[in-house]
Amino acid sequence: MSLKVGIPRALLYYYYFPQWAAFFNHLGVQVVVSRETTRGLLEKGLRSTVDEACLPVKLAVGHVLDLRDRVDYIFLPRLVSMARREYICPKFLGFPDMVRNTIDGIGPLIDCNLDLYRKNSSQYDFFYAVGKMFTRNPVKIRRAYHASLEALRRHCLAMESGALAGETAPETTPAHQNRTGEARAGDVNVAVIGHPYNLYDRFISMNLIKRLKENGANVLTAEQLPEQMARREAQRLPKKLFWTLNQRMIGAAYHYFERPDVHGVIHVASFGCGPDSMTGELIERYARKWSRKPLLILTLDEHTGEAGMVTRLEAFLDMVRWRRNLADAAAATTTKIIAKKAEETTGAPDTSTGVFAAK
């Protein structure tokens, strides 16, 4: 019987699960994912975590507890840095220790360091250290590593073509066809900026994405942008933001503010998250100064009362539609004026503009 490694459905699961799963599968290790968040699971996490931790960390502890008695190892990589001269939130860094010290009877953890902060550091060292726990064959590890990179590449491509991380992540092969066509069924485009572990967790986000879709909005997220693009956009900041995740959010927000087909932006922050409170403020300032697009800031907490969120979302979409219709009407009158002017100058009605204006 093969060994079982548990991966909590929390934190960077939503970014890297396809990569991790491919790696373990190639080593012949069975991957077990914790169940989707439920109230019971969150409550377990809340009870076992120190009060100071943020909601996503508390939730992640709940997911670890869900895996506790079902697997041989729990995969909790110590993510220090995912890119040169950048950091992941310190709470992620200390997460394996937090788990080890607060949960009694926790089985063995896989908590190898992943630190790409310095030049010449490579992900391979991390995967090699993990792989060594399961096989002594370096070639096997090398192959598994390459397969994992390929899985991550495909996952990123799927997201860039419009899939949402929550949808692709559970499968190891995220080949969704016709996703883009379906994703554009609504009448307004709303960019939702937030940590993937908040957005795609249906319980924590109170089904935010589904609610938006049901109300006729197409949802765009930061993950749908190529990483380089988000980085480039974030360079508008006077100083580099060294938190990888929030840099991506800022870059995406800037990008979507500029894009003409996006009608509104929603920033989702979690209560008690330091970096989020800062990105929220930066995005708000940018919106006020440079953009006329509606912005909604939602803060998620452990309460389950949905009424407050529903009211804000509905009002936000009303506002977005109202303003879009007004902009459309203004655009229509300008085209009519242009057509009329063309008519006056040429003497004869220009049929092509006439048709356009009639629309």
Binding site: R39, T311, E314
Partner: protein, 324 residues
Amino acid sequence: MYGYLGIDVGSVSTNLVFMGEDGTVKHSIYLRTRGKPIEAVQRGLKMLKEALPPQTKITGVGTTGSGRHLAGVITGADIIKNEITTHAIAASNVVPGVQTILEIGGQDSKIIILRNGVVADFAMNTVCAAGTGSFLDQQAARLNIDIEEFGPLALRSRVPVQIAGRCAVFAESDMIHKQQMGYNVEDILAGLCDALVRNYLNNVGKGKEILPPVVFQGGVAANVGMKRAFEKALDMEIHVPPYFNVMGALGAAMLAREATSRKNTGFRGFGIVDRDFYAGGFACDGCPNVCEVVEITESGRVIARWGDRCGRWSGLLEQKEKIS
């Protein structure tokens, strides 16, 4: 007579507006919800029926407020709309060109920024209900004065007392302290108004560009002390529209007029006043989420369900308006 009905079911008050074809308010009712929204709606409809001429026909119904779904199901509303949109619609029709709406109700407060007649930004209070109507009610009761006298008394103050307005709990203990020190009631009330306005502008109004004309509405707008405190803090003229306490309902009626322009109303008639509605609930045991499902029954027949995350219960009923 034909007209449109707007119902705003809030945490503290339930308001009904009967609006004529021309958009003017023909009759308005302001009731205390007292924690029983269904009863309040029925009571309000009964009063409205008695107040209106017998041949009156309701040609459209809109509901809003935190109890909008409940009221919508009971009355057969043509439109169920959030309170931010309805308040904005009403204010921009009553005060053309309005750029800022300050709204303070029983349990929540909001600010709505309009530019060129369109909502540009809005905010609602988050977890803190300091400075909302129910807190003022509570303090008035503690000082043994009627809430109606609160405003006029505050206006008589000459030297408002400095009161900590960050948090309702601290404000209360600060007020008690000031009372014990011997400050008079007028100055304490005026100080409380100043503190609450400060709190409102720092929390709800944080970072918002408040431009005139400014409209102040919601139940708390009845309090002239609060109005003056806003005028002092913003150094602007504050308009309190004639139907300030039923603006949400008025907006809902306006939206009902729009919604029924091409279809007939779904209004179930004044007969619903005498029907037995019952709102019950149960905890679903289908999964560890243990959703609290709300069930509305009319004479023993389930007419609506909501509160379940997965749709297991709400999906059982064929509904026109899907409530999620």
